[in-house]
Amino acid sequence: MNWRLGFVVTAAACAVLPLVVPQHSLTILVEALILGLFAMSLDLLVGYCRLYSFGHAAAYGLGAYSYALILTYVPLPLPVGILLAVAVTILIAIPIAWICTRSTGVSFAMLTLAFAQLGYAMLFRFRDVTGGSDGLVGIPRHPGPLGIDWFQSKLGYYYLVLVCLLGSYLLCRAIVRSPFGAVLAGIRENEPKTIALGYNTRAYKITTVVLAYGFGGLAGALYAAFAGFASPELFFWLTSGRVLIMVIVGGAGTLIGPILGGVSFVFLEHQLSQVTDLWPLIFGTIFMAFVMFAPQGIWGILTSRFRSKPAAPNSDSGKEAPGAAT
């Protein structure tokens, strides 16, 4: 499968999609893309480093609340507000990354969870600023700079999110196929050996956590600007859980799998929640089934059918990063 062709076709399909579906589906489409981006950000950690974060909601919540709070005080144009929110998220992510990467495995997972819970607690502690359990409502999005306002409409916003998602995907893909990405594969496969080769794996892990937070924060900021509100639920452990499920079921370590996982999750959730109250239970069960029997996820299964031999580094013939697992 020629990757470039696949990408162009998918991008074109996504561009055309909102024009052929009913107007009321547009909201779901936007949310789906945002969740897809959020899930992909976690894949950097889970799929490429095998660092299981149980607190990635923190990235999402930080992005959302950063945008919301900034916009409460300064009426910045949307793109600027979002960029600033991402910058804030990244800044806060650095000490978090430094602390969490001191440990591995369960301890890492617990630390990430603890930070997310800490964020959750802080929202209630400083409820004057953050609105506590009510959250922040009426978050605006302003046109600009230079009077650009095509993203003010729902359709326009869809294209904004699509551009962000596609751009982030390209960026992440380039990262995992770069020398940096190869080291991540080494960390995933045999960290002691990677260190013995002379790589400072701690620094690589910190960087990856920060990157993951950055992209997750972008998703959060896009969400806050779209929905117009931010609530503590964004930091809740179940939010972290859901995105982890999306990554695993979608296919960890493929970037595409988690995006699909996120997108499908939103659609399924929307459809199923109208029919039954049991859908979280169903998702949880499906998740456990995948963990046990199909850890490579849906996309992993699909692509292993088409993959004949692992691609050489830097070639586009496969969906492989230089160090992606065969």
Binding site: A174, K193, I195, P322, T326
Partner: protein, 249 residues
Amino acid sequence: MPLLECRGLTRRFGALVAVDGFDLTVEPGEIRAVIGPNGAGKSTVFNLITSVLKPSAGQVIFAGEDVTGLPVHQVAQKGIARTFQLCHIFPALTVRENVRMAAQAREGRRWQFLGGGGVLSRSATAADEAMARMRLTRMADATAAMLSHGDQRLLEIAMAIAQKPRLLMLDEPTQGLSIEETGRAVQILKDMLAAGDLSVLLVEHDMEVVFKLADNITVLHRGRVIADGAPAAVRASAEVRSAYLGGAQ
């Protein structure tokens, strides 16, 4: 100036003294073997030199620089490549990628996020060279986990070579290798040494390999050096004999 110098290296585990006042030098271009009965502390010495274990006392000087207790990756960056007793490779990656990872470690710009095509192709070329040396080229695209134990060991050595080290530390490299594979490895090492600019420190049980390769031998017994010198002298030493035969107290 010696390339590597160990001065009074000591390592205690509680009451057990695993290595006691270990002295050793490796000159540029030298092959030195460290031998000794099981439990003598050979792997511990390796771990102390590469900083996987921090010494209780003593120093490690590499190329005139005190590297004692530096983080493991920094010691490796100084120019020391090492193999492990329990074969350490990247099982899920291809053979080529395994070696390329090692070669990439020498690149200055390996932090590159984007592009990095130059780094990737240079390290791929270096990997191809190392694989060719170890006669692994035909297996380049195989998953490392699929290789036989012997080939995995050779892969590990290829990775060490690809790091273009100044000091190559091999921890029982021929363990589990067939006679043919052992002979192959020995010849390759000899060729590399002839090409120059490489020193080797090796731990080995196979005495034939030791006497074929080593310029000098250090004998360890119960954490202490009991003999140090050319192979002939060591072979003749009464102390060494009794250590191996278990008579020594």
